[in-house]
Amino acid sequence: MDGYAVVAEGLEKRYGDKHALAGFDLAVQQGSVHGLLGPNGAGKTTAVRVLATLLRFDGGRARVAGVDVRCEPRQVRRRIGLTGQYAAVDEVLTGRQNLEMFGRLFHLGGRRAVRRATELLEQFDLVGAGDKGVGTYSGGMRRRLDLAASMILAPDVLFLDEPTTGLDPRSRGEVWEAVRRLVAGGTTVLLTTQYLEEADRLASRITVIDQGRAIADDTPDGLKDRVGGDRIEVVARDAADLPAVAKAVARVADTDPTTDALERRVHAPVTDRVAALTDVARTLQEERIGVEDIGLRRPSLDDVFLRLTGHGTQTTEEAA
């Protein structure tokens, strides 16, 4: 299994008669960011916890960083970092004290733990806040400290379970930036998310998970192709204008626009989103066509699911 940092084959995890994982397969290329995309309750957290040795599993096999998860959990722990759904840092201690404490518990010894903490505070842009209590940190800072703590041993594989859920857009950008830097340093990242956009931005490959099973494994582009990619959408004020609107949209669209007469809507897939939007808006204005709404629509997780499973994300139960 050379070239793969994480390999899972037919993973099974049951809670009573509920299958949290039902034959889950995964292969993560070394040095890549791999997205695990699925709605609430799909089994993402369960998969990550099994791979990170936190959870025993009922069937299947898994290797992480070349080590068997079931047989040598201690060796796996030495090679992984884990950032769970909540920022698992000590609220009372300062950022630096957190990193030093975890460093000592990673068996770096006192002096190296101190040095490593300083390095990580720099790397994650927390030097200014390093000596303040974590209780005063913003959500984004907490997440970055959390990431730093997972990176103390510069692990081969880093698991990120919904790292940006609940963060504001700015913090989300900070976390994305930090993840990109990690990969530049050679770490393999397995990232779970409910957002297609996030997986698209960060991951070079995406596995879609539904009811404990991988239902697709593809590049972001491949996945979006299947779903249809970005679309431009125009809602005309007057149904009589629909042909004119369709003409304007056709100039920028990748395929013939679809017209929905009932909702007075014209939509079509586009590649260069912003140029398409500007062009259509200008044309419509020059021709004085009344428009109720105009916008770009990215395919969402819902669209992916609808396409892949025939059902939306709502049918999967809520998470534990």
Binding site: L54, G84, D90, V92, R115, Q123, V183
Partner: protein
């Protein structure tokens, strides 16, 4: 932010300067079990250094209890065998403080569990036992300082022992033994309740459990059935044993349980530990189910 604006490792930190991250493997498992435990304890003690208010809160309650019960009730209540009520009350206050300590354990554990800190520990190559042992040692250190401050407060209020240093140390040892066995109860409850708020609600259970004991008044002054329950309460045995060892009024009614408080102050904690330590450890291991 496009996917192309990546940075190289050299931009992140100077490669030559990076700390060597090979783990210290010279030592065996036993060494790390102790070292990791100590590092978890250090973390707990740093909390008190960063938030002295936490100490004030934790110690404030027993000190206020000592002052309140000592002065407010001290005058009104008469000691059953003619001794000073204050001398009767103080060992009871010590025992009560030890008993309530399980709440602090439970709250600390549930806070770590619900914030994912315990999961982080478990995903690290540290000794898993250190999560539990570190908590225990931390809480015993805090209990020692609690007892020291309480004893000083009591002393300032006129509480005296007249049996010598060895007997007094034995009394403090029994009080710590009570605290020790309740650490396991605290860890178990901390892993069972969903969040810190719920753990706070345990006071509703803890309060009557300490009230129905010989902490405040001798069980002989209670209705028969209640007195029997109070006398068999493990906290009563520790309180009575401490009174005896300190040379304070004991107020035994001559029943078997009250005549054997020294024995029972050892037997009860051992029994509680024997039941709850395996339960707590099992619960901890079940986190991976």
């Amino acid at each position: 932010m496009s996917r192309t604006d990546t940075v190289t490792r050299a931009d992140v930190t100077d490669v030559a300067d990076l700390t060597d991250l090979t783990p210290g493997d010279r030592h065996g498992r036993a060494y790390w079990a102790v070292a990791d435990c100590w590092n978890v304890v250090r973390r707990g003690l740093t909390h008190y250094q960063r938030r002295p208010v936490m100490i004030a809160w934790q110690l404030g309650f027993p000190i206020i209890s000592v002052l309140l019960y000592g002065y407010v009730f001290g005058g009104a209540m008469k000691s059953p065998d003619g001794g000073s009520v204050r001398d009767f009350l103080m060992p009871g206050m010590f025992a009560m403080t030890m008993a309530f300590g399980f709440m602090n354990t439970a709250i600390a554990v549930v806070t770590d569990a619900s914030k994912g800190v315990i999961d982080r520990f478990r995903s690290m190559p540290m000794a898993p036992s250190a999560v539990v042992t570190g908590r225990g040692v931390n809480d015993l250190i805090i209990a020692c300082s609690e007892l020291a401050i309480l004893a000083a407060t009591a002393f300032a209020m006129g509480w005296r022992t007249d049996t010598g240093i060895v007997a007094s140390l034995a009394a403090f040892g029994l009080l710590l033994l009570l605290r020790f066995c309740l650490i396991w109860v605290g860890i178990l409850l901390g892993l069972l309740v969903p969040n810190a708020e719920a753990a706070g609600g345990l006071y509703v259970v803890a309060f009557p459990l300490t009230m129905i004991s010989s902490v405040f008044v001798p069980p002989s002054t209670m209705p028969d059935w209640l007195g029997t329950i109070a006398a068999w309460n493990p906290i009563s045995s520790t309180a009575a044993a401490a009174r005896e060892l300190f040379g304070n009024p004991v107020a035994s009614d001559g029943s078997w349980i009250q005549e054997h408080s020294l024995l029972m102050a050892v037997v009860w904690p051992i029994a509680v530990t024997a039941v709850f330590a395996p339960l707590a450890v099992r619960r901890f291991q079940r986190l991976s189910r």
